[in-house]
């Protein structure tokens, strides 16, 4: 029991090793899902599994697509300014 408790405590007292590379951007995906789920949980008048999942997935997709568009626009702007 104490070993398990020590392992759990250690997991939350030592940071994970995450490199500052493009793959680390994937950490935004679970966060987007969490935002979409909580937002839809507060907004939908009645929660039914199928409809709720559909709405949450659509919102997650919309956020990701918008972020990609914003990133492309900023990259283009930076390229136009620097070149």
């Amino acid at each position: 029991m104490s070993t398990i408790a020590a392992f759990v405590m250690a997991s939350f007292t030592v940071p994970e090793k995450i490199e500052a590379n493009p793959q680390s951007m994937l950490w935004l995906l679970p966060l987007v899902a969490a935002i979409a789920i909580v937002y839809k949980a507060t907004k939908l008048p009645k929660i039914k599994a199928g409809n709720f999942l559909k709405e949450a997935v659509i919102l997650s997709g919309s956020i990701i697509v918008f972020m990609i568009i914003a990133a492309l626009a900023l990259c283009t702007l930076a390229w136009l300014i620097t070149d």
Partner: protein
């Protein structure tokens, strides 16, 4: 007679404000508890699970060191919206025994702060729902 009615209305309003305060406070103490009090059990479970998981994911990635009431006050303000329990963690980490830098610090702070802001949204939503129900009861 009119005086008695006025007192009853006054007491009813006071009870309503007290109820709204209890809903808000409970929603802050435990994510989802405000909705649970309003008998929105499914909503409460979804909100509670998602916010707690997001917060724990942030702590797992960055360690409890991401809760830094001394060096990262703006983040701490958002993090404490999760629950008053964050203040206990903040007290533990204020000594600087859990240093965290770089990308894990960023991701951990973003996750825990977003979880806090989502809980703030849910607190406001629970209080609004409680108020709306009362208004509908009075109207109908």
């Amino acid at each position: 007679m009119e005086f008695k009615i006025r007192i009853m209305v006054q007491r009813s309003k006071e009870n309503h404000v007290l109820f709204l305060l209890i809903v808000g406070l409970l929603a802050w103490l435990v994510p989802g508890a405000g909705h649970f009090l309003l008998k929105e059990k499914t909503r409460a479970i979804i909100i509670g699970t998602t916010i707690v998981l997001t917060f724990c994911a942030g702590l797992y990635v960055g360690s409890i060191g991401v809760i830094n009431p001394v060096g990262a006050k703006p983040w701490y303000v958002a993090q404490i919206m999760n629950s008053p329990m964050v203040a206990v963690l903040g007290h533990m980490t204020a000594t600087g025994d859990y240093p965290v830098y770089g990308r894990p610090n960023e991701i951990g702070q973003i996750y825990t702060s977003i979880a806090g802001l989502l809980n703030l949204l849910c607190i406001v939503n629970a209080v609004y729902l409680a108020h709306l129900r009362r208004a509908q009861t009075d109207g109908g």
